[in-house]
């Protein structure tokens, strides 16, 4: 019989909850994650859910991580198996020495368990049914009861959970007390009948600091509020819907005129993505800050308008919360797979600005910045999030705002400027940066009006199909894109402790896994300089980084290494020097995966660490 050798760890393990969609477990599971945070221990939770509303399996994973690793780790140390449908797979997924927590009301044949794990049975249904008669209550409180039992098993402080329940049901005394009661039902049963605590434990610490716990979509929506967006048009699509929903909620709170109660915003649920982006373009053309949020299929539909935004030079902000494509792909799984589709969206020669936030804090900052950039550059700006950041809570630094900050409305020719006799050519490159002046409709009775069109026109916006006129305009658009390089967030470089010929490029939600992977790689003797790309067009430091290294790994979450393609394409780099490291099964990339993929490649190259630099 295999030795159980139970895992033992304080503040460093992974608990996974297997539930049935619609069973109301989400709030109990999230409370579990928050309770650990209240112990001062960082957590990194992830929703793993199907693209279905009711009945199918869902999982919620909480990585408890004193070290603060916020990427997914991979593997499960404790499985809370509440879904009979997925039992076999769930049990099989537990790490050797791990724990299985289940509802032991009905006896299970021994073949349903594993010898190398510790099985913990709590008769959850029996406890619930003996206390509650209402079926919905039974369903909901069962979740709180298992939370109570887990708190005893993991040695958590029940006061901290009570506090959370208190905050959640503030003002609803009845709900509050019944939830606390359920918590103690589960907790007391475990304390009386089981050996508590087990090898996995939560101990108070001070590693959370002033960090906040927020979803990327919510942070991006808040960024839109702070960034001055007044028009939002959207069409529901997973995983982006919560951006518009959060924007609506934030606006309801912060954007009403105190005197009249009227809204300083307009939100329209479009009939589709074509209408949503059309509304954004119309509003931006008329001088309002506008955005839409969508995902891959929506981007596909929007491309004609994106081309118009590029060529007619109209600001637009699109938040793309990427999911696994192509086509409907895996709607509730994460990927970074729309890089090429967004960078070159639409027919003809087009190029668009992409921003890649790594976490909710950057999602907030970049969202607000996107509106400045859109107006400054008079073009579409894509905020490229993905499901992993968008729909999961992440621990991140607090959001910050400088009250002195004014919005950059870009180059606007006002009635006064026109009166002064300033030459107005809508597509005239006055400053040599490729960015022309625009006027808002209604500016002046006789000056500054022009006709916006997707058709070719001259510098004064007069329709023209002359080749030289067209080429002149296209060249200016290239200059404008070059200007963008210095306006977008720059890449961040972090060098290895020792000089190395190898580098790694990564972006967005890969960040935490990459940060952790560096440690794992160092332990294997591999040193890598890192460059986190935060925007397209690429800053010149990307080319320098490439020039300084023999090989550069490009880590990304799509099949075809799309960022690598873009780098090769835009920098004229020999593709051989860029090694793709791709992860695209729809689950978030892990440190283990990156370290293995890069480590194996390095081993294959027979890389030995360089000595200290000779000066």
């Amino acid at each position: 019989m295999p030795d159980k050798n139970p895992l033992s760890s304080v503040n460093d393990f992974v608990v996974r909850f297997a539930n049935v969609n619609g069973s109301g477990s989400a709030s109990a599971n999230e409370m579990f994650a928050r309770a650990i945070l209240r112990h001062g221990v960082p957590v990194s939770p992830r929703n793993i859910f199907p693209s279905n509303i009711q009945g199918l399996p869902t999982w919620y994973e909480v990585r408890v991580t004193e070290a603060g690793h916020l990427g997914a780790r991979g593997g499960v140390d404790m499985m809370v198996a509440m879904n009979p449908q997925t039992w076999d797979k769930d049990v099989a997924g537990i790490e050797p020495g791990g724990y299985l927590f289940y509802d032991s009301t009905k006896p299970m044949p021994s073949t349903k368990f594993r010898d190398d794990i510790t099985v913990i049975g709590v008769p959850l249904t029996a406890i619930t049914n003996s206390t509650y008669t209402d079926p919905r209550q039974r369903q909901l409180f069962k979740n709180i009861i298992y939370l109570g039992s887990l708190s005893a098993l993991l040695d958590m402080d029940p006061k901290l959970i009570e506090q959370l329940i208190g905050e959640q049901y503030k003002g609803k005394e009845k709900l509050l007390s019944s939830n606390v009661h359920a918590l103690h039902l589960g907790r007391d049963w475990a304390l009386q009948n089981l050996k508590c605590p087990i090898g996995l434990r939560v101990k108070k610490s001070d590693k959370v600091g002033d960090r906040i716990f927020i979803e990327g979509n919510s942070a991006a929506a808040l960024g839109a509020v702070y960034g001055g967006a007044t028009v939002c048009a959207w069409y529901p699509i997973t995983p982006s819907s919560s951006v518009a929903e959060a924007f609506t909620a934030h606006c309801k709170k912060y954007r009403h005129d105190p005197e009249t109660g009227k809204a300083k915003y307009a939100i329209v649920q479009g009939e589709d993505e074509l209408a949503s982006i059309g509304i954004v373009i119309g509003a931006s053309w008329n001088g309002a800050r506008a955005f839409t949020a969508t995902s891959g299929p929506g981007i596909s539909l929007m491309t004609e308008f994106i081309g118009l935004s590029y060529f007619a030079e109209i600001p637009a902000v699109i938040m793309n919360i990427q999911r696994a494509g192509p086509s409907t792909g895996m709607p509730t799984r994460t990927q970074q797979c729309d890089i090429i589709a967004c960078a070159y969206a639409s027919h003809g020669d087009t190029k668009h600005v992409l921003l890649f936030p790594e976490d909710p804090a950057e999602a907030f900052e970049f969202a607000a910045a996107a509106f400045d950039l859109a107006e400054r550059l008079q073009t579409t700006i894509f905020l490229m999030l993905d499901l992993d950041i968008g729909m999961n809570h992440r621990l991140c630094r607090p959001l910050k705002w400088d009250d002195a900050r004014q919005y950059d409305r870009g180059k606007i020719m006002t009635a006064e400027m026109l009166e002064e006799g300033r030459d107005f050519g809508r597509y005239l490159d006055v400053d040599g940066d490729g960015i022309p002046y625009r006027t808002y409709p209604g500016t002046h009775p006789t000056k500054g009006s022009y006709f916006t069109r997707g058709t070719s026109r001259d510098r004064y916006a007069r329709y023209s199909e002359e080749g030289t006129v067209y080429a002149d305009n296209m060249q200016r658009l290239v200059r404008k894109f070059e200007t963008a390089q210095d306006l977008v967030p720059r890449p961040l470089q972090a060098n290895a402790e020792r000089p190395t010929k190898y580098g790694v490029i990564y972006f967005g939600s890969t960040s935490p896994a990459m940060d952790e992977a560096v440690g794992l790689l160092e332990a294997r003797g591999h040193q890598l300089d890192r460059l986190r790309i935060r925007a397209f067009p690429f800053h010149s430091s990307v080319a320098s980084f490439l020039a300084e290294h023999d090989f550069v790994y490009v880590v990304e979450q799509n099949r075809d290494s799309q960022l690598r393609q873009l780098i090769v394409n835009e920098n004229g780099i020999d593709p051989v020097r860029l090694v793709p490291i791709v992860h695209y099964d729809g689950t978030p990339i892990t440190a283990r995966f990156i370290a293995k993929a890069i480590g194996d490649h390095q081993d294959h190259l027979k890389v030995t660490p360089l000595r200290k630099a000779v000066s």
Partner: protein
């Protein structure tokens, strides 16, 4: 250069409106459409209506899709901003523009291909959202710009220039607009300026979604025998329910209508639409009646023109969204940004 500027010469004797503008101030570039195209007559009617209403030309935003019809905004109101967007998607662009600045006048110009096919959805949704606009479809039953294919408003049984018979049913945009809740619905004929000018003027004054379907024969591809959108056909089958004039509240214009035959409809903004009823029983306040009337006459092969329906108490999208009176595009950080103190509170709530 593929563009023709209009000479700026103004005859000193030209009549001026209340604002001191002449008709020329409402003109745009010289049309590049085929000589005799119905769309040019609609352009002339728009110019006339805006002149008569004494609208400041630059306070109008004219937005269109793609097609010969959608080119026309370049040919009127040269001092206003125009936007030739993408095929069929004028309504969303107009909706966005309207949300950004509720103070301008929005004129949407589209074709039947633009609105009844590729843009059918957007047409419908802008109307059901009650966007404050005047939505004009220059309806010729064909795709003009792409040279004569049937559009979705071509009547079943009508013949293309190449002699092909259309076997698909036609979409009647007026019927659809009525069904979708448009609060001003009219149909007219490009060749009937007397009817069209006041209709456009009334639509502009109307607060809410105004829709005018204007039959506008395509000289090049749809003015032959067998077409139901040709000049001759429309003239023969036109059945006008009313003629109207717009009476602007502050300075009523005397109308020469005999008492008893004129029905005055007050609009939300105080202006009045005076209708000369041709059909004694026709009531333009009855949506259901309008729908039935339309269908009955269509079955007889008659094209009903005139103001078919108006709701004088209409609301618009801004009212539905309860937005501030100040145009959203003028709000800056002080009005929009909740500030760092609020953000600190938000941060605190997220721990």
């Amino acid at each position: 250069m593929t563009y023709i500027a209009k000479p700026k010469f103004h005859h000193p004797g030209l009549k001026k409106n209340e604002l001191g503008y002449t008709r020329r101030d409402y003109e745009g570039k010289i049309s590049t459409l085929c000589a005799g195209c119905g769309h040019d007559s609609i352009t002339a009617s728009i110019i006339e209506a805006c002149y008569e209403l004494s609208i400041e030309p630059h306070r109008v935003a004219k937005i269109s899709g793609i097609g010969c019809s959608s080119k026309t905004p370049d040919y009127f109101l040269g001092n206003s901003h125009g936007f030739n967007s993408v095929h069929g998607r004028m309504p969303s662009v107009l909706t966005g523009a309207n949300l950004a600045n509720r103070d301008l006048i929005y004129l949407g110009v589209s074709g039947d291909g633009d609105s009844a096919s590729i843009g059918f959805g957007q047409f419908a949704h802008s109307i059901r959202r009650a966007v404050n606009m005047t939505y004009i479809v220059e309806n010729n039953g064909v795709y003009g710009l792409t040279k004569g294919q049937f559009s979705a408003t071509a009547d079943r049984g009508s013949k293309s220039k190449k002699g092909v018979t259309n076997t698909d049913n036609a979409i009647d945009l007026v019927a659809i607009a009525l069904q979708l809740g448009a609060t001003f619905v009219a149909r007219s004929f490009s060749g009937d300026k007397t009817q069209l000018v006041p209709l456009i003027a009334a639509a502009i004054r109307h607060k809410g979604a105004s829709f005018i379907d204007v039959i506008s024969p395509c000289i090049a591809f749809n003015n032959h025998a067998g077409s139901t959108k040709s000049f001759d056909y429309v003239r023969e089958h036109n059945d006008a329910v009313n003629r109207l004039d717009v009476l602007v509240g502050r300075d009523p214009i005397a109308v020469d209508y005999a008492p008893g035959t004129v029905q005055v409809v007050e609009q939300h903004d105080g202006s009045k639409v005076a209708l000369r009823k041709i059909d004694a029983d026709y009531d333009p306040h009855d949506r259901l009646g309008a729908m039935t009337f339309l269908q009955k006459h269509a079955a007889k092969g008659q094209i009903v023109t005139g103001l078919l329906y108006v709701d004088p108490d209409a609301e618009d999208l801004h009212e539905h969204l309860n937005t501030v009176e100040t145009p959203l595009n003028t709000l800056e950080a002080d009005a929009l940004c909740p500030g760092s103190a609020v953000l600190d509170k938000i941060n605190a709530s997220l721990r």
